[in-house]
Symmetry: C2
Subunit: 211 residues, 2 copies
DNA sequence: TAGATTGTTAATCGATTAACAATC
DNA sequence: TAGATTGTTAATCGATTAACAATC
């Protein structure tokens, strides 16, 4: 369904358009069908309107000339494009502070991400629960991924263990990894890796502060 | 000290070079002065070596032709450039799961970020502590920032309160905001805003998964 | 000196934006 | 029809990379 060679900045912006439309629809009167133009989205997001039309054009023609886009329709198209119309199963590896916080994060469930389990190597944590999600032994992670057909692994272990844990997840057949560990994982190119590097965010910030 | 018009992707990569060098120095024998070439950094980071030299050239000439860069020297230069040679004071606003997890995150202290306080509006939380950091009433945040000269505010409140809390921080004279709330803050351009949007990370991931 | 690598210029590549014909 | 806005092409802008003189 998806064409190749879509710039990743475009995918990024599609997520922004999606959120923007969600907000508009939420606050709007539902009686009238709501149309929205690329320049209105531009005003709300700060993204150039030609950019918006071009980003959408990668995937089809969703607007009506002279009128704009039917908001509820465009939202649905974006959800199809971004895979937000499906459920995704995920696990969290690492039951530290951040891992536990992510397990409780409501934003995930809202987006169709179902956290099926948390994994850790600490015997004191194994068997406990975070909310309604159980903490399992990291030794079981490969089998768990395979048996339960887990799509996404959220990696929240210290940097020194990240690579070996990632290898286990790949062995189990994980499809994507959201990596919070501050290092570059080297894995087979089959697996999609997204890095969320909080330290780098901070370092960039201080660069701009020390100008 | 800093020139304007440095692309933000360059700043991003400087952080990566810095971490890369830290790792190399950590694992290397300290007897010999360690020289490293742009192509070695390239091999470790996956970034083109000309790119690396060009990024560094924005800030000065740090290498020796025919030899490369003296690792400990380059690390120090990068720390100067990125403002990592200074201490920065920060607060966390929002003592939810993520806020508490960030308060405990060791990576911050290691980088010279000192968390001076956590703020929340929940009377049950105010007065408690996360580790050694106290939770204060959100009403005091403006005065606290002003009195203690806080540089960075980490914003971890629900989206619907994010704008008003950000306004308070700006009123107190905050210099930068690290925003975890899923929305675009509108603030005076004096304040540096960095957005860390976990939902968007997930949405991008599912785009690539549903190909 | 010969070999290696920087710093920098010039060429390439890709992404953004302006402009406009098509059309609602 | 007149006004508005899309979809798309062409122009612009900026970032990446190749190439190479300078030089250790």
């Amino acid at each position: 369904m998806k064409k190749r060679n879509i710039p990743s900045v475009t995918v990024n912006r599609l997520c922004i358009y999606h959120r923007c439309l969600e907000n508009i629809i939420k606050t709007e009167d539902k009686k009238e069908p709501l149309f929205i133009s690329s320049s209105e989205i531009s005003a709300l997001t700060g993204i150039n309107s030609a950019q918006i039309r071009k980003d959408l054009a990668y995937f089809g023609q969703f607007g009506k000339r002279g009128i704009g886009y039917l908001a509820i329709n465009l939202v649905k198209e974006l959800e199809k494009i971004l895979g937000l119309d499906k459920k995704w199963s995920a696990i969290i590896v690492g039951a530290g502070n951040l891992g536990k916080a992510l397990a409780r994060y409501r934003g995930f469930r809202n987006r169709g991400f179902l956290i099926k389990g948390i994994f850790d190597k600490d015997p004191l944590k194994i068997g406990k629960k975070i909310g309604h999600i159980s903490i399992y032994d990291i030794k079981e992670v490969e089998k768990f991924i395979r048996d339960k057909n887990i799509d996404i692994g959220v990696l929240v272990v210290p940097a020194e263990f990240a690579q070996e844990v990632a290898d286990k997840m790949v062995a189990g057949g994980i499809k994507a990894i959201l990596n919070f560990a501050p290092l570059r994982l080297s894995l087979s190119s089959e697996v999609r890796i997204h890095n969320v590097d909080l330290s780098l965010e901070f370092e960039e910030l201080t660069y701009y502060l020390s100008k």
